[in-house]
């Protein structure tokens, strides 16, 4: 039944959302790399006042094996308040959870018992394929006319093109492929938007064969992974402009547009440069000069470069041993709801950096913590004797910006390449404020807490910094 008043987790503006109460639960996708036990949604207690704070207090397993849960999202969010198609009396209660390897999409209901999400629907891979022409569903965003699900692969064994499938808001049926004119984009990964400007942005990783068995050295050195951003007319569903970051910048992944709907800029993380193994963060923005030339009006500027750290080849896994250095591998970034802080995960070196991006063209590093890392294996302060594999990977920020959650697995086959002796499983939380950025020593679920699975994306109850978009400043 619909609500009489708007769902209390919907906020008109990012300013209002930053006042939201702290989350009490976090949902974490956890997968079994061996595909011997089902993947699961782990529910974490993140209420500091609770006796089970930092524990896995809920665990819902999937009915199948080998889905490889990865990213996921809510059925509804603050965009339901958008004025052109308002429907704010729906509830934020369903988690839309794609299996990146199986191409199934699961729907979990979190309402009746938030610590025990109940599976209510499964969209099978062949339905996704038949209706949208896609496979390998990835990012989920709640939009005004449906759920947008990016997909990395084509259907029926086709490698590509990847793109976006549209799902119905209420039935979660696959409505079809979103694009009317996809232009030159073939590789796919993430997508988000400037919703108040009718602009969609998408990024590139690789096709299924380029990623599913691990990173392919020849393709990487041949600069064949994605290295461009794409800009779209969100209303007409047409590709407008490609902004190539340069083919040395391999794998342009996570997209974090400004939450302020009057702004038109955002950040994109690039995993690695094949020239010097550095990683980078790019700012996309409107380019007035190009606009005058009729070029579509978008440009991207590299605003953060993180260099590789020299290391003894004997300490490195075979995939990077020849280079004698650890690449930072920026695999995820996240922007706080107030657009002030950008968090950057360096999964290779084991570092989580915080930047003040008040001036988005000139980020200022304002804090860094070390944990895990290919060579460093830095332990968590709560367990100083336990060297950690994996590094800060999926990073999620609370709506008020004070708490940052991070998990350590990247993607099954890639974990195995970069951490061949086992990536382990851990999750950490950091407290972030104007005067500090440090681990919460009370919060460190790890090892057996995840029951042999690897934790990936975190979604916070009520929404987080990468779940909602806003139509009002």
């Amino acid at each position: 039944m619909a609500l009489w008043k708007p769902d209390p987790t919907f906020y008109a503006s990012p300013r209002d959302a930053a006042e939201a109460p702290p989350e009490k639960l976090a949902y974490v996708a956890a997968f079994d790399r061996a595909a011997e036990t089902p993947d699961a949604i782990a529910v974490l207690d993140v209420d500091p006042g609770s006796a089970s704070y930092g524990d896995v207090v809920g665990w819902t397993e999937l009915p199948n094996l080998g889905d490889e849960l990865h990213h996921f999202g809510w059925n509804a969010c603050s965009s339901a308040l958008c004025p052109y198609a308002p429907h704010p009396h729906v509830e934020r209660r369903y988690l839309i959870v794609p299996g990146l390897r199986s191409s199934r999409i699961y729907v979990f209901d979190t309402k009746d018992d938030p610590t025990a999400p109940a599976l209510v629907k499964t969209v099978e891979a062949d339905e996704l394929a038949k209706r949208s022409g896609y496979s390998r569903p990835h990012t989920v965003h709640c939009g005004p006319e449906g759920l947008y699900v990016t997909a990395l692969g084509g259907a029926d064994g086709e490698e590509g093109p990847g793109g976006i499938a549209l799902l119905d808001h209420t039935s979660f049926d696959v409505l079809g492929r979103w694009e009317v004119d996809r232009g030159p984009q073939y590789l796919a990964y993430d997508a988000w938007w400037h919703i108040a400007h009718d602009v969609l942005v998408s990024s590139e990783w690789g096709t299924p064969s380029m990623i599913e068995d691990g990173v392919v050295g020849e393709l990487l050195l041949g600069r064949r992974y994605g290295h461009a951003l794409h800009f779209w007319d969100l209303r007409k569903r047409r590709h407008v402009q490609t902004v190539d970051l340069g083919d040395e910048h391999q794998m342009a992944l996570e997209l974090r547009p400004a939450h302020d709907p009057t702004k038109q800029y955002g950040f994109a993380g690039v995993v690695v440069s094949v020239e010097d193994l550095s990683a980078s963060v790019w700012l996309w923005h409107r380019d007035r000069h190009r606009d005058r030339d009729g070029g579509g009006g978008w440009a991207a500027t590299k605003v953060i470069t993180i260099p590789a750290e020299p290391a003894d080849a004997s300490a490195l896994p075979p995939v990077i041993a020849p280079f004698g250095a650890v690449p930072p591998l920026v695999t995820d970034i996240d922007l706080s709801v107030d657009d002030r802080w950008l968090y950057v995960s360096c999964w290779g070196t084991g570092e989580l950096k915080r930047y003040d991006v008040s001036d988005p063209f000139a980020p200022v590093e304002a804090g860094s913590v070390r944990i895990g890392g290919i060579v460093a294996r830095t332990p968590h302060p709560a367990a100083p004797g336990v060297p950690l594999a994996g590094g800060p990977q999926m990073v999620e920020v609370s709506r008020d910006g004070r708490r940052v959650y991070v998990t350590n697995s990247l993607y099954g086959a890639w974990d195995d390449q970069f951490y061949p002796d086992g990536v382990g499983a851990w999750m950490a939380k950091l407290d972030s404020g104007p005067d500090g950025f440090a681990f919460d020593e009370r919060f460190f679920p790890h090892g057996d807490a995840f029951r042999g699975r690897r934790p990936h994306q975190t979604r916070l109850q009520g929404g987080d910094a990468s779940s909602d978009s806003y139509c009002y400043p």
Binding site: A85, A196, H197, D198, C471
Partner: protein, 211 residues
């Protein structure tokens, strides 16, 4: 037109104006986006025009039909349509879909027309339209004059209704933009679409009962 009908027209107009989904919210959003009160004010007439077009089509159609068909038949058929439409609105979980914030004023008027139409804004006026005195028949000039009367009745109904809608939507838009702020939506935005659906069913029932 009876005083009661006039009051009902104004009240329905105010009710439509009150609904954020019918456009004042869009006007506020456009203003906030550009930090411009002028844009709020510019948007309102376009929204009202779209609403008027949607209501006007129904009003004129019903008035014209009444000038040629027995008024009772019109009331019964109209009432039945209304009850059915209201029930569909009440039970369906589908909502109006549209993408796009960057609209010209013409597009905004078109949006408003569609939004009002799918919500059955004009249909809600049916009890008022169906309750007026039947247009004169057997007149020397026959249908011509009757349709002229019907047309002006339809235009009058549309005008009064839209004026009330415009006044209420405008007042709310300016108040929210200038003083109240959008945080009020979280507390005050009750599901008017459901109230609306019940109103449609009620309007249909009244029309049927008084037919």
């Amino acid at each position: 037109m009876k005083d009661g009908s006039l009051a009902a027209l104004v009240a329905l107009g105010a009710f439509h104006g009150l609904n954020p989904g019918m456009g004042w919210l869009f006007a506020v959003a456009r203003g906030l986006q550009e930090r411009s009160r002028a844009l709020v004010l510019q948007s309102l007439p376009a929204i009202a025009a779209g609403h008027a077009a949607s209501v006007g089509v129904v009003a004129v159609l019903v008035s014209l039909t009444r000038s040629v068909v027995a008024t009772q038949a019109v009331a019964i058929a109209g009432g039945a349509v209304l009850v059915g439409f209201g029930l569909w609105r009440l039970l369906s979980r589908r909502h109006f879909r549209w993408v796009g914030m960057r609209l010209s004023l013409w597009q905004l008027a078109g949006w408003s027309f569609l939004m009002s139409s799918v919500h059955g804004a004009g249909l809600m006026l049916l009890p008022v339209l169906a309750s007026g005195p039947a247009p004169r028949h057997g007149h020397r000039l026959g249908h011509l004059s009757a349709s002229g009367d019907a047309l002006s009745a339809g235009v009058f109904v549309t005008g009064v209704h839209t004026l009330a809608m415009f006044a209420v939507a405008g007042a709310i838009a300016v108040a929210v933009y200038e003083i109240v702020g959008l945080a009020v939506l979280r507390r005050a935005w009750i599901d008017l679409d459901r109230v609306w659906a019940v109103a449609l069913v009620g309007a249909g029932a009244v029309t049927l009962l008084t037919a």
